[in-house]
Each structure stands twice: as C-alpha cells, then as structure tokens.
Subunit: 236 residues, 2 copies
C-alpha cells in the first residue's frame, strides 16, 4: 500500500505524528501538499466532499480517506507494526495517543489562548498568563504521568506499552521535542524529574527510520507557524 | 456485561457522552462516583495504578479499564449497537466523535481561555474576547460542517453515517444541547442555517432510551461547573 498524506506543507503540526509513524516503518508515502499543486490537492478533500474532513491532516489509503490524527494512527498502527496485537493493549495505546493529543492542544493554546483567528501578537498578554500555568502546572503534571507509566510498565521502562515501540511512543517523542523547542528554559528544569521520558525520547530518535528522517530535508524545522512555537516571553 | 462509569458526580461533562451511549442502549451500568464513597472510588484508578488514567472519565468493563472519552465510545460502540459493521464506517464514526470532542474542548475553553487552574471570574475579559470568535466563527463553521455531512449522506439526512444512529449522533446531540444551554442567543441565530443538525438533535432526544434518561434524575442539569456554562456576558 502506498499512502498519501495531506497536510500543511510548511509546518510539522499535527501531520508530524503521521509522518513519524510512516517514516519509522519505512512506508511508501507521498506528502501531497509539498509536491506540485500541493495546496489545491490538499483542499480537495475538505470542502464539498461527501465525507469531508473538518481539518488536515488526512490520509488516503486506497479508497479510504481518514481524518483526525489519532484516528489515522489507529488505522496505521497495525499496518506499520506500531500497535500491540491484543485488543486491551490497542485500546491502551490509543488512550495514550489521545492524552498526548490533549497535551499538544494545550501547547498550541499557550500562544493562542483567545482563539486561532487572532495572531499571537494580538494576544501576547493573555498568552503570557496562560504560559505561566502551562509551564508550572501542566508540563509537570503530564511529565509526572508519563514518567509514572514508564516506571510501572511491567515489561520495563523502555516503551509505554509492553516491550515494543508503538505509535504512543512516537507521539511522546514528538511532544517532548516540540516542548524543548518552544520552552527550552522550562524543559531543562522540568525534565530532571522525568528521566525515563527523556530516555524514551532519545531512544526513539535513534530508531533507524526516525534517525534517517530527522537527518533528511523531509523533516521540516520547528518554526513560529506550527504548534510548538518559541517565544522567549512565554518560556519563563 | 455490567459496566462501571467513573466520572465527576455533579456535572454532565465529558462523562455525559458515555452516559448517553449506555442509556440509549439500555445497558446495565453504575455511575460509581454518584454512589456511596463515590469520590474515593473515582480516585482509585488515577494515581498509582499501573495503567493510570490521566483524567476521568474512565470505564470499567470486566478487567478492562478504559480512559479517554472517544476511546471508551470506540470500545462501547459495537457492544451497544451504536457502531456500523464495516471498518471504513467505523473509522468514519470515530473521526466524527473526535471532531465533536474538539468542538467540546473549544466550548470549554471559551470560559477558561487562560487555563483551568484559574476561576472564570479571574479571566472574564479574556473569556469575552474568546467568546466573540467562538460565537461568530467557530460555532457557524462546525454547524456548517455537520449540516453538510447530513445533507450529503447517501443514506439520507437522518444520521451522520448510513441509516442508523451511532455514537457520533449521540455526541452531536449533546454538543447542540450544551451549546443551547450556554449560548442561547447565539444558537437561536446560528441554528437557522443548520436545520438538519437541529432535526438530528430532536430525533436523538426522542429515542426511547434517551427520552427516558432525559426525564429521569440520572440526567444532571447543566450548570456552571461543567463544560457548557451559561454566562450571559459570553453569549453576545
């Protein structure tokens, strides 16, 4: 199966969780909006389509068109060898992907607390207030949670579920990488209490498919159009 | 199978999407935190549990403990007759549940734009600015999207997927009910352009299990501790 990913071409964004899964598995895929007529093709399956997607990313797999990042990972996981075999573990991995998706939304909303329709520059003061809570309460709470899960995994602390990497591990890698870019001062301090999470991040980065991807031009650099944005005023 | 739902006892909140599915199907379940020692039992599967849940709701089904609202509905759907039989339709329904979950988060963040750690009263001005965008941009955009899907459903406009109700329809009912409570003036105006969505809401309300539930004391009234809160200043 050759997959087609439809997502904004200049940011990692939510599409990155899909790119990482495809790259980790060495799957054949095209990143459609980064190719010729990319934006026109991206808009095709929104708009007037019978099963229109509310927002990118979406994945075309044969005749199927699948939207919502966690849903795409739910579909891809077993096909890419990134999902456990039994149903209970699959639900567990999906639960973790959804929790990491919640964390990602919160990281975005730090710089857009008043809504995505205004620029960051129009909501600096509100962003600074929201950042204070995110950095001192939410980042530590999420880090504690995932550190706890790794410490209590009966199969050992290498991966979130069992003894093999799953889509949840790739998502945790991406969230940590993004937070380090956006909030470097905060993360230096907060990471100290989450050594297993940091080790998982590093472990994912050295997986063959991921390491090759991160070193390639296919990995878009973090920037101030994406989810994880570095504004020093928000990293206090 | 007798299910046990763990969720905050005084609000509809995210737990309500689960309650509606169980009630629609006439499933046997206990709403644990509303019974004796409820809060202590609720906290039991957070905290130090091996597969701890980040936040309520979660569902106990035999030995399984499942967290994250869309994940719980993914599990319950086929067991309650609220999910289509084929895989493509199941992914589609899950995609819609996730989009409705995103809409729900946005509805919550209108009254808590600076974070859940502050009271609404501490962020009134920011809330008012966020409400302006939500009411004039986001509610119409989501309504247009679901209206479009109903209009284009090849099986007719009664339900979001095929010719039978699914968990996605119950979620859309709940979001519309919540928005009507929170933003009555806005909804009177915006609903006019979404007659199929309104008809779906009314159709769900008359389903046997749902109608009985809504008339029972088990349905907690909307209030200002939940996701959908009525603050007149935010309904302009």
């Amino acid at each position: 199966m050759k997959y087609a990913l439809y997502y904004w071409p200049i940011v990692q964004g939510r599409g990155e969780f899909i790119r990482l899964a495809l790259e980790d598995a060495g799957a054949a895929y095209t990143d459609v909006a980064r190719g010729p007529n990319g934006m026109a093709k991206l808009e095709r399956f929104m708009g007037n389509f019978v099963r229109a997607t509310f927002a990118p990313p979406y994945l075309k797999a044969g005749k199927l068109i699948i939207g919502q990042t966690p849903n795409i990972l739910l579909y891809l996981g077993p096909r890419l060898g990134l999902t456990p075999k039994n149903d209970a573990d699959r639900l567990w991995v999906h639960q973790l992907v959804l929790t990491l998706s919640d964390w990602t939304v919160e990281a975005h909303d730090v710089h857009h607390p008043l809504g995505a329709g205004l620029y960051y520059e129009q909501q600096r003061a509100a962003a600074k207030r929201r950042a204070a809570e995110f950095n001192t309460q939410r980042i530590p709470k999420f880090l504690r949670y995932f550190e706890h899960l790794l410490a209590r995994n009966p199969a050992g602390p290498n991966w979130l579920c069992g003894r093999r990497a799953s889509t949840a591990d790739l998502c945790l890698f991406q969230v940590i990488a993004g937070l380090r870019y956006a909030f470097p001062r905060t993360m230096v301090k907060r990471e100290k209490k989450a050594p297993r999470v940091v080790a998982l991040h590093d472990r994912v980065a050295t997986r063959r498919g991921i390491a090759a991807y991160l070193a390639s031009p296919r990995r878009i650099a973090f920037n101030e159009h994406g989810i994880f944005r570095h504004y020093p005023a928000l990293d206090q």
